[in-house]
């Protein structure tokens, strides 16, 4: 069982940073909606406040790691230019997608949207984190701020979801491969 370094870093980018961000986003939405609503009856304790602060910082870190690893590690491998006359395009995912009418939209719509929309997630969650750092529990006293932060977190969830969906589909149709090969387990021949 082997894995290439490009595949490994693509997994870290997508399933590690991106996947974790999506999971965390769902938790943040529930927490902000339920606990920090002006109508919420239960008092928010200092521990709850500290927990959400750390949670949002971790989310912001994940979002930045996801977009930076995507843009500066995986994307250059994806858009690698094939030398003229190359027949086997398996090492050039973008060229491979563009070589067939049945897959070209995964690049022209999927990747073109994903590469930009994904950046809305770190911008939104960094803002949400900064606002919560400043106001903490006091955000309950500023309903317009709290509602807008919640909307931004929802949009960041949507943006990360779009990026995740297209990332998974694109990698399914034209996987990023290459780099050195790492043997994970030495299998027995049956």
């Amino acid at each position: 069982m082997e894995i290439t370094t490009h595949t490994f870093w693509t997994l870290v980018h997508g399933m590690g940073f991106g996947g974790l961000y999506l999971l965390a986003c769902a938790g943040a939405i529930v927490e902000l909606w339920r606990r920090y609503s002006p109508a919420a009856h239960a008092a928010v304790t200092a521990e709850d406040e500290t927990f959400l602060r750390i949670y949002l910082v971790a989310m912001a870190l994940l979002a930045w790691l996801a977009v930076l690893s995507g843009a500066y590690m995986v994307y250059p491998w994806y858009r690698a230019a094939a030398p003229p006359g190359t027949v086997n395009l398996s090492g050039y995912p973008q060229r491979l997608l563009m070589s067939s009418p049945s897959t070209i939209a995964w690049h022209s719509i999927g990747m073109e949207w994903k590469e930009h929309v994904a950046w809305l997630a770190p911008i939104s969650i960094t803002m949400a984190c900064a606002v919560f750092m400043k106001y903490g529990r006091g955000i309950k006293n500023h309903p317009p701020l709290r509602n807008t932060v919640l909307c931004f977190v929802l949009v960041s969830f949507l943006a990360a979801g779009i990026a995740g969906f297209f990332g998974a589909e694109i990698d399914d149709h034209a996987p990023v491969r290459g780099g050195s090969t790492v043997r994970l387990i030495h299998g027995k021949q049956l």
Partner: protein, 118 residues
Amino acid sequence: MNTQNAQEISTSADAASLTNGSGAAAILAAGIGAFALAALAIAGDQILLIRRWMVFYKPTGPLSGVTTTAILIWLFAWGILEWRWRNRTVAARRISVIALLLLCLSLLLTFPPIADFF
């Protein structure tokens, strides 16, 4: 009332007495940053000269310049707004609507079939 409870109430009261300026500044700046990203992405896609300018890191291509410039615009806007509004109470509802409109527009404008209208 024990000391911890007193501290918690004091912290909560401090947070409640904060003006909404800082929060509104962060929110509007995020909207501006998101919209700048979408506008630069369209400009980089449609105008050859801008596409060339946006190549900050060759392996990533114009995406490197589009995102870096949008982030700089976002942080600059945030800094200016924070400086102007940090001790003020502003019209948070109106600012929130503007920021959300910018965010929704950027979500739409990054969608290639819509971006191709320009």
